[in-house]
Symmetry: C2
Subunit: 356 residues, 2 copies
DNA sequence: CGGTTTCTGAGGTACGCACCTCAAAAATGC
DNA sequence: GCATTTTTGAGGTGCGTACCTCAGAAACCG
């Protein structure tokens, strides 16, 4: 049997009340007694029964997800995945709020947080550009004891507890190899379309991409990043301009949202299917692009995994529990036309008999 | 607040004891009353608090993992991952037993199960060849109410609750594209090395592989499968024989364990680095093969995810809870030299202060 | 040393559920 | 309508923990 608080009390030669004070960091216990209790805990290998604890405490967790108010398919999918996870067992006894904030307004995020201000928040998942405002916000959140994870795009300079997302450098490298191998050995230039170089994920992808190109495909020259700012028309315009300026573009790496805009530019230039195209995220557009051959490869991350991982980590941090690094590593999928799965499997329903 | 058993009793106009009898399928309740209680449950949307239930019941789950007694790195890694998961929160209040059984002995699996016979088993994860014995075993297990999942390699003819593993057909397709694109446009033959065609995963990989080759790379001809039976020397011998028999082999698809044997054959034939090689699973050998260029691509599945997914599903089935299909879909990673991650990240330790 | 402050122990209630007993009520058979 | 059987209700205990109160013990102060 696993030891209980009573066993600890007995082992430490104190009462249950004292063990409780130590365990829950309540005041009124001498340092010496605290040590005695902790020793007993170590000796017996006591592990708090989280289920019983939450049952007794009637605790509810409040988690806030801050996402950019951007109309991309990926963000819609991510929001849906978070809403899904909020209904699942991982969100047991927690309340999730999803706030979407305009990306250009530096104070919007702070306001979003203040809107929740009546009750304290246990944890916060943030997807935002890497700016001083966001960094300060994270510092403040941590100072007041809120768990913070960055989502999709990291804030390496801020004291977040964890980054929930793929290794974007590795993703960029993968994109680089695929594109390099598919493009063949003739020299040429590569257009790189990103959302914004303020976004860390874009920076990292670009970094990894350039590394591989330099190491292994020196005959290919990547052009400066085209920042589409998640705007279809803008993306189309700057891509078209880039294609017009360089007649030696043999491939496009779409590192951020903007596949629709890129497609438009390609169509207008009469280049559909004639360039190697590597994009990110599986959406309706990239899927059909893979199917009709206008996209050669897609590097995708699973939004469901992102949502669940963020939730698990916030919960673990709120409970001061360890997290399983292996489980929280978000993997990337390499999708090609030939391994594109058909529709996702139907949900697995429980036995109807008894509603457990 | 979520409704409790008391709310149900009130709503249905019966006592708590009756609700309890209905919920736990105890005898002594009229059909009419059962219906009334179930109606109340539906109306209120009652969901049993599994944590509280397990706390009250002091329930422990017993799960058995049956793995083949085969000395491959993948199986060692899988065993370690299961042992890891057994220490994690997913294995809360459950006891895991891992049984390794000789693959050639058809009755060994049955014996492994009988060894556990003193107490009934709540769930069983099976990795085994697709034979009638195994199928009968699964049928018997299901009949006695044990949850059954197949692990890594499926048993589509058996009434298992779920298959925990990758989509091997898609994996074979992926291998096919990569190999096809890397091999270039010159005609040639491809050696295919598998563990055993009795293993469903091998069959499916081969299927997907052949599909893609036929569709997209008709100039490449895949030779009949070489069955290495997870034996290094045997694999080396038959691979060498194959290479000797056909001087036009341009690529090797190592669909099953056997990378060491294949390497040996390649070395002896003086062909290291001169053929396109696509293999499965990230092990020491495939990792170093990628690094030194003797392997072009590796298709990998995460053993940690396999172990956790199996555990989650067995537990859900034992509790008659729904499972999240999205979460349980095991993804494949495409690993190339350029996106091979360095050492895995260090474990994230909890705050040392209080042992929650 | 007495008085004050700081710790500690004993005990209780609650969380949501499982499982038990015993008596009372209702349905059934004849 | 009575005896018998089947259903139901009332109530209790325990799972492991959180959180509360109050009295008493120990440590500290001058």
């Amino acid at each position: 049997m696993r030891p209980t608080v009573n066993d600890i009390a007995h082992e430490a030669g104190v009462s249950l009340a004292t063990v409780d004070r130590v365990l829950n960091a309540r005041p009124g216990v001498r340092a010496k007694t605290i040590r005695a209790v902790n020793d007993a805990i170590d000796r017996l290998g006591y592990v708090r029964n989280v289920a019983a604890a939450n049952l007794a405490r009637q605790r509810r967790y409040r988690f806030l997800f801050i996402l950019p108010a951007v109309e991309t398919q990926f963000l819609h999918a991510l929001q849906a995945a978070i809403a899904d996870a909020a209904r699942g067992p991982l969100a047991e006894s927690s309340d999730l709020v999803i706030a979407t904030v305009p990306q250009r307004d530096p104070h919007a995020i702070v306001r979003a947080l203040e809107d929740q201000g009546d009750q304290p928040i246990d944890g916060c998942a943030i997807m935002a550009h890497e700016t001083p405002d966001v960094r300060d916000l994270i510092i403040r959140l941590k100072a007041q004891g809120t768990a913070v994870v960055t989502l999709v795009t990291d804030q390496p300079q801020a004291p977040r507890d964890h980054f929930v997302g793929i290794d974007n450098r590795a993703a960029g490298r993968t994109a680089g190899v695929l594109l390099g191998r598919f493009a063949g050995s003739a020299p040429g230039r590569i257009a790189v379309v990103v959302s914004s170089m303020l976004a860390r994920d874009m920076v990292d992808r670009r970094l990894g991409f350039d590394e591989v190109l330099a190491e292994r495909f020196p005959h290919l020259q990547a052009l400066p990043s085209l920042e589409g700012h998640d705007d279809r028309d803008l993306t189309a315009r700057i891509t078209a301009a880039c294609l017009a300026a360089h007649d030696t573009v043999v491939a496009i790496y779409v590192a951020g949202a903007g596949m629709r805009g890129v497609n438009e530019a390609l169509r207008r230039a009469g280049l559909v299917g004639r360039l190697v195209v590597v994009a990110h995220e599986l959406t309706d557009h990239t899927r059909s692009g893979l199917e009709d051959g206008s996209i050669d490869a897609v590097i995708a991350q699973d939004v469901g995994h992102l949502a669940r991982s963020a939730l698990r980590i916030l919960r673990a941090k709120a409970d001061r529990m360890a997290i399983d690094a292996g489980q929280e590593q978000i993997r990337i999928s390499v999708l090609l036309r030939e391994n594109l799965a058909p529709a996702p499997p139907a949900p697995d329903l429980p036995d109807p008999a008894i509603p457990f």
